[in-house]
Structures are given as structure tokens and as C-alpha cells.
């Protein structure tokens, strides 16, 4: 389970600037999971492990949705999402941003069951995971905040501040309402819509306290990754309790369906002027361009979303070209290159 350091709570000091800072942290945190999830997804060979790829993609799309929702809330309460900046992308391997109280080192690593168990399920672990079947108990929660508590704190601040006056002073035209199902991505303009947005983020990520199923009738992220880990879908238990069991369709994993890709390419380093370095630079420039495009989208030009989506599609193709065919270099025999996800304004 991810816990935020207690000083993060200091942002939730009951002031509007504090809410702005907390929402900016939320945006960065939602984004920070994407490179590591994408790296693992990209490493899956087309036509192989398709069920796993589909589950991972569904989580990734929701992380993107959560980032968009957090931006909408921040814009609604008069803030300005900052997406185009060098430290927006954390270093991999490394901790997630936002003052994470954890020893978890998040890597860029090709798909493996161990990665699912030791990283992705840890990132997504709810405060009080429902065990189907019972696994080891969650880490004892101390003073630090869970992600859910963090978002709940933001919600409470918004509610309290709204009692004193209107804080929804942002330009309504800045709201992004395209690119995701309209039931999930809605404009934020008052306490009710802000609360709904926060609930969507938390429930899709963690489920609810009583059910692993989110309002869109899908298992929350933790349970989707658990499905991959256990190799079976989560279905209602025919002999409850518990109410659910990993007893549905098989989700088979074919280890041959993963490209042999370098782990943590920034640490490994590509030889200058090698094909790996050249292609990595192109990927990083394109990823940075995506952040710039998203910054524009969430700072007044939501109609530019398609340019950003175009960049996402381009990134997928660039990553595939690297992972499927470009050797990482003579010091990494047998391994292909993967993108290092580093902020690069020039090539």
C-alpha cells in the first residue's frame, strides 16, 4: 500500500492554495504510475498475453482519467495544472512522487508476475484490501495518509471552503469533457461534481470498503492486477463468504509473449549514437511533447486533446519499435532497448 508522508497533509491546511498544491500533487501522482505500467504493457508481444494486456490497458486508461479529473477539479477551483516541467516525470527506478512513505522502488521493467505482485499490486493496494482469498494482512497504517485519505482530505477541504464562499471560480471552458466515457469524465463546477470526480478516482483505484467492484462494474485496480497475478478472473463466489473469489476464467501468462527488454534503461545507459540511444531520444522527445500538449489541453485548450492522443499513439509505436527489434547494446546481451521516460526538450 502506498502511504503519503504526513507532511503531505500539511497542504490540506484548510486554505485554497493548500487545495491547489494538493491537487497538483494528485496530478503528479496519478501520472507517475503511467510510465511503469506502460513499460510493462509495451513489453507484451502483440497477439500474445492479450487478456493481460487488456486488463493492464484498462487500468492505464483509468489512471489517465484520474489525472484528467484531478486537472478538472484544479481548474474548477481556480488553479492551473502544471504538467510541462522536468520533474513532472519521476526518476525510474525510484519512489513515486508526493512524499511516499514507502521503500517501494518503482522500476521500468518488462512484464512479469513478480512485477505485478511486488510493485503494481503494492501501488494499487487499498487501505483495507478485501481478501479473496485472504492474503497477508495489509501493512499497519500509521500516521501517514493513504491515497484514499489524501483524496478524502481534498474533498473535505473543498466542502469546508465552499461553505465560506464560492471557490469554483475557474473558467468553465477549461474543463475537459472529451476522450473518456461521459459517465466518467464530467465537467467540475461545484462541490457535488468535485465530490463525484474524487469518488470516481478513489473507487476505480481502490474499490469501496465493501466491494472490490467499482461503479463501472469492473474490479478496482488492485483486484485487476490480482486477477493477473492469480491467473483467474474475480467472480462472485458460489459459496460465500467471501463474496468473491479468483475462480473465473483463466488468464494465462505465456512468458514467451514478453520481449526481452532491459530493466531501468536510464540506469543501464545506452551507448551514445547507438540505435538504442537515438530511438530513446526520439521517444523521450515525443513523451515530453505529450506532456507539453497535455499542459496546453489543461490550461485552456481542451480541444487540443486529439493532438495529445496522436502523440500517445506515436509513443506506443516508437516503444514497440525499440522493444521488438533494437538491441540495448553490447553490455546487455540478449536484451532489447526500452524507453527511459526522461524529460527531453530537444533532440
Amino acid at each position: 500500500m502506498i502511504l503519503l508522508k504526513s507532511e503531505v497533509a500539511a497542504n490540506l491546511d484548510g486554505t485554497l492554495p493548500g487545495v491547489h498544491r494538493a491537487l497538483q500533487q494528485a496530478i503528479e501522482l496519478e501520472h507517475a504510475t503511467l510510465p511503469t505500467y506502460l513499460y510493462a504493457l509495451y513489453s507484451l508481444k502483440p497477439g500474445k498475453n492479450e487478456r493481460i494486456a487488456s486488463l493492464m490497458l484498462s487500468v492505464i486508461l483509468e489512471e489517465m482519467l484520474h489525472m484528467a479529473l484531478a486537472c478538472n477539479i484544479l481548474n474548477a477551483v481556480g488553479g492551473h495544472p502544471k504538467i510541462d516541467k522536468p520533474n513532472f516525470i519521476p526518476a525510474y527506478p525510484g519512489p513515486l512522487p508526493g512524499g511516499i512513505e514507502s521503500n517501494l522502488e518503482v522500476p521500468l521493467s518488462p512484464f512479469s508476475q513478480a512485477l505485478i505482485e511486488h510493485v503494481f499490486m503494492v501501488i494499487e493496494e487499498p487501505e483495507d484490501p478485501l481478501q479473496f482469498p485472504v492474503r497477508a494482512t495489509a501493512l499497519a497504517a500509521g500516521a501517514p495518509l493513504t491515497i484514499g485519505q489524501f483524496y478524502d482530505g481534498i474533498k473535505q477541504c473543498i466542502i469546508e471552503l465552499s461553505k465560506k464562499g464560492n471557490i469554483f471560480t475557474g473558467n468553465p471552458s477549461y474543463q475537459l469533457t472529451k476522450g473518456f466515457p461521459s459517465s466518467e469524465l464530467r465537467a467540475v463546477h461545484d462541490v457535488k461534481t468535485a465530490s463525484t470526480a474524487i469518488d470516481t478516482i478513489v473507487q476505480q483505484g481502490e474499490g469501496t470498503n465493501t466491494s472490490p467492484i467499482d461503479p463501472q462494474h469492473k474490479p478496482a485496480h488492485y483486484y485487476r492486477y490480482a486477477e493477473i497475478f492469480h491467473g483467474k478472473t474475480l467472480v462472485p463466489n458460489t459459496t460465500p463468504p467471501p463474496d468473491f473469489a479468483y475462480a473465473g476464467e483463466a488468464i494465462s501468462f505465456d512468458p514467451d509473449g514478453v520481449y526481452p527488454v532491459v530493466t531501468n534503461p536510464a540506469l543501464a545507459g545506452y551507448a551514445p549514437k547507438s540505435a538504442a540511444a537515438i530511438n530513446n531520444d526520439t521517444f523521450n522527445y515525443t513523451y515530453t511533447s505529450l506532456l507539453r500538449a497535455l499542459h496546453i489541453v489543461f490550461n485552456g485548450e481542451p480541444d487540443r486533446l486529439f493532438a495529445a492522443i496522436g502523440l500517445m499513439e506515436s509513443l506506443k509505436e516508437l516503444a514497440f519499435a525499440m522493444m521488438s527489434a533494437i538491441p540495448a547494446g553490447p553490455t546487455m546481451p540478449g536484451l532489447n532497448a526500452g524507453p527511459s521516460f526522461q524529460y527531453t526538450r530537444t533532440v
Partner: protein, 621 residues
């Protein structure tokens, strides 16, 4: 005016161009005979050729401003000298696109944004590169191999300019003031292309270029100036110059005119290179050339100037240390300009010159995609010794000689080009106005389906000045300067459009662009349905958008409308209509109509193979 301007910057670096090569072979368009191996790498013109998984990206990489000139003087101490020339940092890369599998010699750049930015990437000015095709392609390395031995150039304008605060740079401030027309002129030379799939720099090549102001009334893709035209005997390629009479200077651009000693390498040492003008009556005699000044690409006898090309992009302003006298200017305005090479023994020869009569005509935009019934209004610019040629008669000729209608190696077939001839129509002559400009309307009608499995037909139209016809023996001529047209077949939308009626279109794209399998299987109904929303967006974008589908810009508007209509209207199952399979269309006629012949281009690169397939080289058997 144009980039040949006292106010200009030069840049140098690397470009990337990564087109798919499956569509290099016209036979690969035939869904009925397509084989999986056509999507695999194959040496030369075999299987999927040199880059079957190409994504068409065109990028600028590591391009640095290498020099800048203001008021005719070299700029120093200005922050422009630390700047980069980069492509978009908020959109996907530009795209390199052939007009057609049977006209691959006018590859266009679409959707490119060009930025002048600081060394850390902050944009100072950006503009949209108006789509342009390369011109003046030639074999630049005499001893090289295709495609790396080619050189070519692009000239266009940057429009929709957005300026940041450039007050810190006097040069950029002046450029901004000069760009009140809303346009900048840009020209770059490309060579040394790396088509070796095992090389780290695969799909990259050398680029050097120039950016300057663009006048409101000047052509976008053509210097309204003095054109040096090559004959097969000339060691230099076609190039251009302008004369600044008030300053007494000649701007000459030899950036794509000098051969190199290796692909993307130093200029070949041809001896002393000088600009002059040719006194009558014998334009071919070097003794009749009066020199203006030398172009110092070498410290003779043999010391190459490695920075010369990077810092000038091949542009020289001559004479270097004086102005032309009024008498010289009068002579320059009257006699053809020439570039003269003088070897170590002092033997001089004209390496290239303007025609003896100084006449020249060319279309500004020379690549068109047209629907049946659509008319292209082609602007022709005629000059005599660089001055507008008013009242000149321009003859227009249907000329398919440079199109590629011959068979390709191992498939052995290629449909006929430029048939039926009657589907394009235009006046046989037009007359230029007082500005030397004539508008040539090229009208179209449905060509039918003459190529069966390839949509539409390609045509060439060559404008020539009546006064140059018939050309005397040895009269210089740029064979690549003609108007290329892709005329689409009429397409009637089956109502309502269904997957079954559209599948051949999708199947062909799936065959020709294997890289698309990264995103979806274009030949599979379920996969296409799953990506319906994205496809609706991508097919609905203007073709100028770098994300427009298909990347090849070869889908007719009628077929595009059918695809959009099909994607928009879903059936009860929430998916676009599947429809029922129709009887298979006969394809035997396709192979009957196909040109068959012996392998002609098996071990060449893409452009090399296309060069070898030009109709002008067709064997008469």
C-alpha cells in the same frame, strides 16, 4: 526576396524520413495476390523492400543555427547563433509521403511544424511548413549507391507564425519585422540518406538549410530568379540565383548542386568554382565567361572547408568584397549566369549555366491530388534572366515520361500510367500576365479504374515556353520540373456503406502499412469496430494534420466520406454495419492490363528503383 536574402539564417543537422516501403511496388496494391512476405524486409526491390515497418515520420534532429546574416553582414554576438531549428514539441512528427506508387519522385512533407528555439528547447517562433515536394533530385555521389547517393531539396514557406518575445535577439527582431507578410521562406537540402537497416542512423540523413523572409507576392516553392539548368554533361546540378541590383550582389545557392565525395560527406574537389556571366555568342565556351567571384568551398588546391556547407547551406553572395558596377549589372541582366570550374592546370569549363536565352518557366506548386470534376489552378511563373516574362506563351504537354510505369523486379507487373489521357484536360497554351504569371487550369473527369487495384491514375503535365520549342541540341532542361497529378477514380458510396463494401480499402492499407498492426488490425472488422472512436477522429482530420489517416494522403475524399459515414452509423449491436459479402470482383483483368517485363530494379533503393522505372527509360521491344 525569398530565403536568398540579406536577412537569413543557415542551419545544419540531421533529418529522419521513415516511409513504409511496402507500397514502393505497385503490384503490392493487389489484395488478391498480396503475400505475407511483402511485409518483411527484403534487400533491394524484393519482398517489403528496405523499411516495410516505416511509420512515415519526418523529423528534424540536432539541427543548429550555424550562421546568420543581417543587412548583408554576418551576425555575431546575437543569441540566434545559439538557437536550434526543431520540429513540433506539441504534436507528432511530420510525415513523408509519396504521391503514388507510380510517381515516387515528388515525396512531400506533410504536417511538419518548424520552430526556431533556444538551446534548451523554448520556442521563439514556430510556423506550419506548407506541404512541399522535393525537387531537383540527382545522383550527388558519383561513385555511390542508391539511395544514399541522392541529393534533393525542399523549398516552402512557414505560415501561421507564432512569435514569442524575441526582443533579446536583434536578428530575430528584424526577421519578425520582415515577416509581416505572415510567412517565412525556408529551403533545405537533404542528402546522405541512410537506408541500411542495420545502421544506428537508419532512416537519417544530412540536412542543411536557410530561413529568410518571404514576400507576400512571391511563389512559395520557387525562387523567382535565375535558374541554372543542367544537361547530362554538367557536373553540377540545377540551382538558382537572384540579383540584388541595388546592392550590386548576386545570391547564388549551390547547396544541392555540388557533388560530394561520399554519402553525406565533404564536397568533391572539382577545382576552383566561380560565378560569372557568359558573353555571346558562345555560351558553352569558358573563355567567354566574365568572372564575378569565387565560391570558396575549398581552400585550393585540396583543403576542404568542413564548415563551409554547414555555415552557408551552399549560399554564396558575390562578389564578396565589392559591389558589381552598373556596367556589370547591366551585363548580368542581359547575359546568362554561369558557374565555372577551373582545374589545377588552369583549364576552365562552364559547369552549369542559365539557358542562352535566359528563359525559364515552372509551376510553383507541382504536386496535386484531384477528384474527378475538380480543377487545379496551377500558377506558372515565367522569367527571362530572372525578370518577369510578360506576354509569354506557355505550351502545356501531357508528359508521362518521368512517371514510373514499368515492372518491379520479382513481382513483374505494373499497371499503365497516364491512361485514359482524356481524364485530364487543360489548354494547350496559356499566356503570362505583366508579372510573368499564368494560371493553368487543369480540369479532370473520372478516369474510370484503369489500374484496377490502385485507385485512380497518375498524370504528368509539362509547361514549356513556346520560345524554347523545339529546344536546340544541348539546350538545358530540367526533366524533373513538371506537374504531377494523382486523379482519383469516381467512387459511389454504397448506401448504407458496410464493412463488406469497404473491406478492400481497409485490407489494402493493412497490407501496405504493417506498422498499423501496433494499433489495430485494419483488415479485421472487430478490431476496426473496437477502435471506432479513434478512427472517426483520425479519418475526420484535415489531411494537413500530421495525425490524419491514412498517413499516405492517397485516400480519395469520396472513399473517406464513405468510411466516415460507415463509422458514424452503428447498427443495433452498437457497431458499424457488417453487411453481407458481395461476389468477388474479377481481378484477372488487372493482371492482363498489367505491364509485365524483366526485373529492372532489383538491387536498388526505393528512389533508385523508381528512377529506373520511369517511362522515359522504357525498353522498346
Amino acid at each position: 526576396m525569398s530565403y536568398l536574402n540579406p536577412l537569413r539564417l543557415h542551419f545544419a543537422g540531421t533529418f529522419q524520413a521513415a516511409p513504409s516501403t511496402v507500397n514502393n511496388d505497385p503490384a503490392h496494391f493487389d489484395n488478391e495476390t498480396f503475400l505475407p512476405r511483402y511485409q518483411k524486409y527484403g534487400p533491394g526491390a524484393t519482398d517489403g523492400w528496405w523499411n516495410p515497418r516505416g511509420n512515415a515520420d519526418f523529423r528534424l534532429i540536432g539541427c543548429k543555427v550555424t550562421a546568420a546574416w543581417q543587412a548583408g553582414k554576418p551576425v555575431s554576438g546575437d543569441s540566434i547563433l545559439q538557437c536550434l531549428i526543431a520540429d513540433s514539441d506539441t504534436r507528432v512528427a511530420g510525415k513523408l509521403v509519396d504521391l503514388d506508387t507510380e510517381q515516387q519522385m515528388v515525396s512531400e512533407i506533410w504536417g511538419l511544424e518548424v520552430r526556431i528555439c533556444t538551446a534548451d528547447g523554448s520556442t521563439l517562433v514556430k510556423g506550419r511548413f506548407q506541404p512541399a515536394a522535393f525537387a531537383d533530385i540527382w545522383q550527388r555521389v558519383p561513385t555511390g549507391t542508391p539511395d544514399s547517393y541522392y541529393g534533393a531539396m525542399y523549398q516552402s514557406v512557414l505560415v501561421d507564425l507564432h512569435w514569442a518575445d524575441v526582443s533579446g535577439s536583434p536578428f530575430l527582431t528584424a526577421l519578425k519585422d520582415a515577416a509581416s507578410t505572415g510567412r517565412l521562406s525556408i529551403k533545405f537540402n537533404v542528402d546522405g540518406f541512410d537506408d541500411n537497416v542495420t545502421s544506428p542512423t537508419f532512416t537519417q540523413g544530412r540536412i542543411v538549410g536557410t530561413i529568410g523572409p518571404a514576400a507576400a507576392d512571391e511563389p512559395a516553392h520557387l525562387v523567382f530568379g535565375r535558374h541554372f539548368l543542367a544537361t547530362p554533361q554538367n557536373p553540377l546540378n540545377c540551382c538558382v540565383a537572384t540579383v540584388d541590383e541595388s546592392a550590386g550582389l548576386v545570391y547564388v545557392d549551390v547547396g544541392n548542386a555540388l557533388p560530394t565525395s561520399s554519402a553525406g560527406g565533404p564536397m568533391a574537389n572539382l577545382g576552383a568554382l566561380s560565378l560569372g556571366y557568359v558573353l555571346p555568342p558562345d555560351a558553352s565556351s569558358s573563355s567567354a565567361v566574365l568572372g564575378i567571384d569565387n565560391i570558396n568551398y575549398f581552400h585550393l588546391p585540396d583543403q576542404y572547408q568542413p564548415d563551409w556547407y554547414r555555415q552557408t547551406a551552399g549560399v554564396a553572395v558575390l562578389p564578396a568584397n565589392r559591389a558589381l558596377s552598373p556596367a556589370e549589372i547591366a551585363a548580368v541582366n542581359k547575359y546568362p549566369l554561369a558557374l565555372v570550374l577551373t582545374d589545377a592546370s588552369g583549364n576552365a569549363k562552364v559547369a552549369i549555366s542559365e539557358p542562352s536565352d535566359g528563359l525559364y518557366v515552372r509551376a510553383d506548386q507541382f504536386v496535386y491530388r484531384l477528384e474527378p470534376g475538380e480543377t487545379a489552378e496551377v500558377k506558372l511563373y515565367a522569367t527571362a534572366f530572372g525578370k518577369p516574362l510578360a506576354g509569354a506563351t506557355v505550351m502545356n504537354i501531357l508528359d508521362s515520361s518521368q512517371l514510373q510505369g514499368q515492372a518491379v523486379s520479382d513481382t513483374g507487373k505494373a499497371p499503365h500510367v497516364a491512361t485514359p489521357p482524356g481524364a485530364v484536360n487543360f489548354p494547350c497554351s496559356v499566356v503570362t500576365d505583366s508579372r510573368g504569371i499564368a494560371t493553368l487550369p487543369i480540369g479532370t473527369s473520372d478516369p474510370g479504374n484503369p489500374r484496377h487495384y490502385i485507385d485512380g491514375q497518375v498524370y504528368g503535365v509539362r509547361p514549356m515556353l513556346l520560345d524554347t520549342m523545339p529546344p536546340p541540341v544541348g539546350y538545358p532542361f530540367n526533366a524533373t520540373e513538371f506537374i504531377s497529378i494523382l486523379l482519383w477514380s469516381e467512387y459511389k458510396i454504397v448506401s448504407p456503406p458496410t464493412w463488406q463494401s469497404l473491406k478492400p480499402i481497409f485490407q489494402q492499407y493493412a497490407n501496405l502499412y504493417p506498422v498499423m498492426d501496433t494499433f489495430l488490425n485494419l483488415a479485421d472488422y472487430e478490431s476496426v469496430c473496437k477502435h471506432r472512436n479513434l478512427l472517426l477522429l483520425a479519418f475526420g482530420l484535415p489531411v494537413s494534420d500530421p495525425n490524419s489517416m491514412p498517413v499516405t494522403r492517397d485516400l480519395s475524399p469520396a472513399k473517406r466520406a464513405a468510411i466516415l459515414q460507415w463509422l458514424e452509423h452503428t447498427g443495433p449491436d452498437g457497431k458499424p454495419l457488417l453487411g453481407t459479402a458481395s461476389p468477388t470482383a474479377p481481378t484477372a483483368t488487372a493482371s492482363k492490363a498489367a505491364e509485365t517485363g524483366p526485373p529492372s530494379a532489383s538491387m536498388k533503393g526505393g528512389k533508385g528503383a523508381a528512377m529506373a522505372r520511369r517511362m522515359v527509360l522504357k525498353r522498346r521491344t
